[in-house]
């Protein structure tokens, strides 16, 4: 079984995003960039499927600037077999990403697409669902458990107030939630080996996909600041303040 794992290069999750003074966007110059945490979980799950003998090949794909090669090398070091970079400096919307992935899938014919539920920059949580819709493949989002058997994926999903289990026919799109697994750190020998694994760079234009943005960003502003309040000395003092001053008890 062949697994395709799309990954995104984003601001490192430990770095606080800062808005540019001209409000044109978030300042990413000289900021640490890493693989999106949910993508990392998806790569880890694919590697575990391979270790269990369920998956035979893992292809990792990224759409982004030339530096996204580093992100792909990370997935190769974790255990992906080869990688594809669709190079662009344009910031693409989820619908455009889904259409490009559909084009990659037409060439690669994977049995399973395993991807993160959300990228922590745009916070859209949409690409997997959109890809599934335009492929007419079933979807299983927010997965916390994945089992593959007999041409089907049994997926436990995080839903409001609990867990839901569904079964989808393969090929399917599965998006990873936090509890699916804890991604490994790539070992030094694996990082060295990853440098020799194949990484194809393709031009965005060669796919002939309409990636024109549908949303125009008017401005990006700082959120309203919340100022710190006061320190209280005792719990009794706190209850008193909540009752009389804040009126919330």
């Amino acid at each position: 079984m062949k697994v395709l794992v799309p990954v995104k290069r984003v601001i490192d999750y430990n770095v606080k995003a800062r808005v540019k003074p001209d409000q044109s966007g978030v300042d990413l110059a000289n900021v640490k960039m890493s693989m999106n945490p949910f993508c990392e979980i998806a790569v880890e799950e694919a590697v575990r499927l391979k270790e269990k003998g369920v998956a035979t090949e893992i292809v990792s794909v990224s759409i982004g600037p030339i530096q996204a090669q580093e992100t792909l090398r990370t997935s190769l070091a974790m255990g992906a077999d080869r990688a594809i970079l669709i190079q662009t400096d344009q910031d693409l919307e989820p619908l455009a990403v889904a259409k490009l992935l559909k084009a990659v899938i037409a060439e690669e014919s994977p049995d399973l697409v395993l991807m993160g539920k959300q990228a922590i920059d745009g916070d859209n949580n949409a690409t997997g669902q959109m890809l599934s819709a335009i492929l007419d493949w079933p979807q299983a989002t927010f997965a916390s458990k994945l089992e593959i058997e007999g041409g089907k994926a049994k997926v436990t999903r995080e839903v409001d107030g609990g867990l839901q289990t569904i079964e989808v026919n393969l090929p399917a799109v599965v998006t990873a939630d936090l509890r699916l697994n804890e991604p490994r750190y790539a070992s030094l020998p694996n990082i060295m080996k990853a440098k020799k694994k194949p990484l194809d760079i393709k031009e965005l234009a060669s796919f002939g996909v309409d990636v024109a943005p549908r949303l125009k960003v008017v401005k990006v502003a700082e959120p309203p600041k919340r100022s710190g309040g006061i320190k209280v000395e005792t719990a009794a003092d706190l209850v008193n303040k909540l009752k009389t001053e804040a009126g919330v008890l």
């Binding site: 949409a126 690409t127 409001d160 839901q164 569904i166 710190g228 309040g229 009794a236 706190l238």
Partner: protein
Amino acid sequence: MAVLVIADHDNASLKDNTHKTVTAALQLSGDVDVLVAGQGAKAVAEAAAKIKGVRKVLLAESDALGQGLAEAVEALVVPLMANYDAVLTPATSQGKNFSPRIAAKLDVAQITDVTEVVDGSTFVRPIYAGNAMETVTSSDAKKVITVRPTVFKAAEEGGSAAIESIDAGAAPAKTHFVSQELVKSARPELSGAKIVVSGGRAMGSAEEFQRVIDPLADKLGAAVGASRAAVDAGYAPNDYQVGQTGKVVAPELYIAIGISGAIQHLAGMKDSKVIVAINKDADAPIFQVADYGLVADYKVAVPELMDALTAAGK
């Protein structure tokens, strides 16, 4: 311009998120219909008909809709969009599951997690875990929008819209529901609770988390939340998680106990009306957003807080 709101419900009762999404929809148009897609959900439709400002309620029922399968909701809604210029869904895990499918099938962008309606095609939404607010204008003919319910006031009751039953559409052939396990709790639901008590990594174990946080929450009639660090460490289940990667809450009162205040947690609770932080580290970032901070070890502070609440008649 006519707008469709997809109701949030559990087949038995209508959730408040629907009322809040109707408020956002009414800022776009006076012609707002509500779709109840479920199974055995007549009471939900009747409740939706009572929301002030709703023109009509559409009720579609099938097993697949009752199970909330995304493919079924999409197959139902996409043809309906011939009659609507926009569809609004509360950004719950359910809404997030099916809404992007509708957008993709209509070949339009989804405008995600909207916190402000500027005009008919301009919206504000948080990005980077709420560290930036993006204003976007959509050029698409039809708008597919998810709404962050916590920032909108619930539409009032007092309407009497007609309920129209419609065809449920096709059931998905390649997706099958297996089971659902919902956590049964006497406590209010986290995303809609008036008071939330959250615990962090400082608790040190699941037993300690339950020993400290649960009684305080029960005393206040509050929902229980947790930081991602506490969830990752296994001290609390994932559906307790408040933050960018969990639930976004905005209660009247949010009490953070032993939570340092990582960016990702603040993104999920900074719109709360009053924030209380109890932490022994006076430099913890949580104090920068807290209205009332108590620098103390929770092991001492929480029992004292329980006593003070008892003394105050709670």
